[in-house]
Amino acid sequence: MKPHNIGLLVLAGILAALPLALPNSFYYDIVIRMAINAVVALGLNLLIGFAGQISLGHAGFFGIGAYATAILTTHFGWHPLQALLAGAIAAAALAALLARPIFRLRGHYLAMATLGLGILIAMVLKNEAAYTGGPDGMAVAPMSLFGLQIDGEKQWYWFFSANLLLSIWACRNLIDSPFGRAIRALHGCEVAAQVAGVDVARYKAIIFVFSAFFASVMGSLSAHYVGFVTPNVADFFYSIELVTMVVVGGMASIFGPVVGAALLTALPQALATLEGWETVAFGLILIFFMVFLPSGLVPTIATRFGRRG
């Protein structure tokens, strides 16, 4: 059996056994948030880790999904699935529209453009209070699929666990497809990829659109799960957290973002006991990871055990 399939099985085993170890709904909530972040980070890793393009505005796409769900189901009475799809299409369309001009840029310029985009989305959400409830946010109705309402932490836990496993499997297949090889090629060397017949601009655009779509869908789902949205979901800080999950876990590794998401979601909870020092501790840990484990946890461990992650 291929190593990544073993990884998937191990993760499925952990997710199946975890409910035995989770004492109450507080812990369920943390694991669910880990799973949500893990899926967004997986999508972002396609862009950052595999295609080598940075985005500091991905929370913006997450926010589009969350608010599309909130606004369309509350103000316009849409079905949750319709709203989810509408949000994802809007996020993908925005990404597609901006992809060409954005991806002519590189490195810091690209970081800056995506950062600006994310901040603008967050500002619109904060200022258009008539629809979004402004900085206070708004409530979101629970989600029902085919007449069944998903309710309570346990049901959501199974829902997001399945969602995570499916996403990992999909990403794995995408990376191993000709498309995946093309984006990895353009990461290695754009000119060489172009010479080998890869339409660099088009592939960058597709992967950007794809990861925006991913983020938006997860935004919608998490809005239903939390039952409330605030402009913080599209915040610059969340964009940074997402990038950090990818980098701490390990770029260009399938399980890297999952490990990174688990770690960075749990960390603030663990640090909450530090009474005020949590921001300082979080900052120090970020620096520590970047200095001592620059290629991320999963690739570092994988190299140590003589296998590729």
């Binding site: 800056m112 500002m123 921001t279 300082v280 979080f282 620059p294």
Partner: protein, 288 residues
């Protein structure tokens, strides 16, 4: 009204220009975008308030509020940037964000979450100019900013250290070969950059209040100004800062004050899409 917007835009723009110079300096010296730059602005303002409240005269408080951030800047370089030599863009961005979290967190614990005021340096009797009013503090901002820019220019033109920094920014390896300690160049760059930010923060505080979290937005705006001016160009940073301040004030006056903070980010998208080299950026071609 137009003159009024012009004056307030230039005032705020001058502080963006100082911050943008800080970004540009570090970017030229070591190709790092320092996301902690905004925290130096915050430190300048917060520390001045703190020292003034502990009974020191304003001038001494302001000097201390520049020295302390300079020390912090050098420490950041020594403890976080230097050990990560050769790391990728994303890693360096996260390191500077980590540093900014540490600085912000410490100030939040030490000086609290509240907003603080600082009295204007020489009264608040407005001066009438061409039908608009100008606060004396604006003159302080514009005057000190102009002096800082001139001093920086002289520093790079006429001192050995300044020339060493320029040489390193052109070609670090060649600079090393002629005996320049590039490590010290980096530390000095961070120090100067922190000083520029701190001065901007001190000047701005009597106009806008300060608190532990003002650094994020001010830093990002300084960054926008640096990119608008063309990253790596000193003249561009100053022009970019004034330009961003002006457009922001005009948009707040004529379009919508709710979206005032959005202006720099719309500007950056427009600039990156249509003038990716900025106002004064060098023309760069890719090498294969």
């Amino acid at each position: 009204m137009f003159v009024q917007f012009l004056l307030s835009g230039l005032t705020v723009g001058a502080t963006y220009a100082l911050s943008a110079l800080g970004f540009t300096l570090i970017y030229s010296a070591c190709n790092v975008i320092n996301f902690a730059q905004g925290e130096f602005i915050m430190l300048g303002g917060m520390l001045t308030v703190f020292f003034v409240h502990s009974g020191l005269p304003l001038a001494i408080a302001a000097i201390l509020a520049v020295i302390a951030p300079v020390a912090v800047g050098i420490l950041v370089e020594r403890l976080a940037i230097e050990p990560a030599r050769g790391a990728g863009t994303v890693n360096l961005i996260i390191i500077t964000i980590g540093a900014s979290l540490v600085i912000r967190g410490v100030v939040q614990i030490w000086l609290g979450k509240g907003a603080h005021v600082l009295a204007p340096f020489s009264g608040s009797e407005p001066i009438a100019i061409a039908g608009a009013t100008l606060l004396p503090q604006s003159l302080w901002v514009l005057g000190v900013a102009a002096i800082m820019v001139a001093a920086l220019w002289l520093f790079f033109r006429h001192t050995v250290v300044g020339k060493a920094i320029l040489a390193t920014s052109y070609n670090a390896l060649a600079a090393q070969l002629v005996g320049i300690s590039t490590r010290w160049v980096l530390r000095i760059s961070f120090g100067i950059s922190a000083a520029m930010g701190a001065v901007a923060g001190i000047l701005l505080t009597p106009i806008t209040l300060t608190s532990y979290d003002v650094g994020i937005m001010l830093g990002l705006k300084g960054f926008v100004a640096a990119v608008v001016g063309g990253l790596g160009s000193g003249l561009g940073a100053v022009a970019g800062g004034l330009f961003v301040g002006l457009v922001e004030a005009l948009a707040a006056g004529y379009i919508s004050s709710a979206y005032k903070d959005a202006v720099p980010f719309v500007l950056i998208l427009i600039f990156l899409f249509f003038f990716p080299r900025g106002l004064f950026g060098a023309k760069v071609t890719d090498r294969v």
